[in-house]
Subunit: 274 residues, 2 copies
């Protein structure tokens, strides 16, 4: 089957791809953009159905792109070539690599999460910057979190900058968006202890027991933890800082706390608390 | 003294400010750009001499800008107002806050570093992305590192994105740029043990002793540690990862390692190794 080639900037599909950078058209179409070799590869590895794949060979950076395109096509993606300038228009990145896909959005509920006997969960509240959310997803993946729960989101998890900053980890970490009150009720029902990081806490994060069923709760960039979580978290902890008061942003505080939990929980990640 | 106001985009000072985004003109003039309220405030806190300060009230985000401008003027900065569109041209950021300063570059040598009895140093090799270098500086500040040594730099430490990503911490962390061989010789002379993070190591970073005189050595984004440091570091360590092989970037690996050292070294940061 010959592959369609689009060069007109006025083509309706080109216009639609540009629109998908914004949330409303994304939600209306129920899809989102996945740009870049690494991100698309990870989507395919996780059997995410890519409905459309656009490519433009003049932008390719390596030699593996044709194989990836073929893999996506075999998996059911509608494949379409774009002229160089046309691709530049639909690309979200400053330095595109000639690959852009469209994937369906999904909605996962708390009840859908398959947790192990001793769960290790990250809860983030109202994160504002897509780049921070993406970085936090990478951290959770590296730390082996069983799920990431985004409460009362300000940032759309399908924002192209989340996909990019997560380097495609968005496809591998189980991710749920839910209201804080429901998340708390669910955590209590599951008997998962909540540890919340806040500068106002007395105890230092590395001096408390982070083993057992655990949820690390992190606040937003600008406001930190909400009253709700400050009041309801089982254990408030702080990260001692030597320098400027705001040296650590939320993504940095998250990775420090997660990896201290990993250290305490040991190699198999499920060592039970005492 | 009335404050000069520039509105012409053709004004030579406006053109020079735009040029200072690039390294060569920066090095020729021996200065660099400091944009933003927080960054300028930190420079003033550290008694950095700002030679020029440009402001444009229509971009201000808060109410403290006039006081900051007055503080800079009193400290010797030549203050100049820019018309709104003129400021937009010289601003480096997408969302400028109406404040842009010029500061002289400095050059600090290893011999200039005033180290405590039990030093805690970060060595980074050939970091490529200014944003990563800035984030690493923030981490080193938060962890209380006594110095950051940048070996064989690819990124200019005076790149505007380093200043921005460091949120001005560039002014508070003692920073030295030097060749790797000289850094190693200096560390050995000072009897500072080197711990180098590499995926190839057998020992896990949190299971080795990170107390005592310590230098944490981190490689570049793309290539990791060079042969030189892999061969010469006292102790190679790795960070265990649960997820994708490349989940952690160099800035994330740095903060994990630094904060494990902080944890082991204890509250006053100088507890001696055993």
């Amino acid at each position: 089957m010959p592959i369609e080639k689009i060069s007109s900037l006025q083509n309706p599909r080109v216009k639609q791809l540009v629109k998908l950078r914004d949330r409303r058209p994304r939600d209306e179409a129920g899809v989102f953009l996945v740009e870049g070799y690494r991100e698309i590869r990870r989507a395919l590895e996780k059997n995410v159905l890519l409905t459309e794949l656009y490519f433009s060979p003049e932008w390719f950076l390596g030699e593996n792109e044709p194989a990836l395109i073929e893999q996506a096509r075999t998996a059911g993606a509608q494949v379409c070539e774009l002229a160089k300038e046309t691709f530049a228009k639909v690309a979200y990145r400053e330095r595109p690599d000639g690959l852009l896909a469209v994937a369906p959005q999904w909605k996962r509920a708390l009840a859908d999460l398959a947790l192990p006997a001793v769960p290790f969960v990250l809860v983030v509240e109202a994160i504002e910057k897509p780049g921070n959310l993406g970085t936090i997803l990478r951290s959770a993946d590296a730390a082996g979190c069983d799920a990431v729960i985004v409460c009362d989101p300000v940032t759309d998890i399908f924002n192209p900058n989340v996909v990019r900053a997560s380097t495609g980890v968005l496809f591998s970490v189980p991710l749920v968006v839910e209201e804080s009150a429901r998340v708390l009720a669910w955590l209590r029902e599951k008997k998962i202890r909540t540890v919340a990081t806040t500068p106002a806490a007395e105890q230092v994060y590395s001096e408390v027991d982070l083993r057992g069923a655990l949820a690390v709760v992190m606040g937003s960039e600008q406001y930190g933890l909400s009253e709700f979580w400050l009041k309801n978290a089982d254990l408030p902890v702080r990260i001692p800082m030597a320098g400027q008061a705001d040296s650590l942003n939320v993504a940095m505080a998250t990775i420090i706390t997660l990896f201290e939990a990993v250290r305490q929980r040991g190699p198999n990640g499920t060592r039970s608390g005492t």
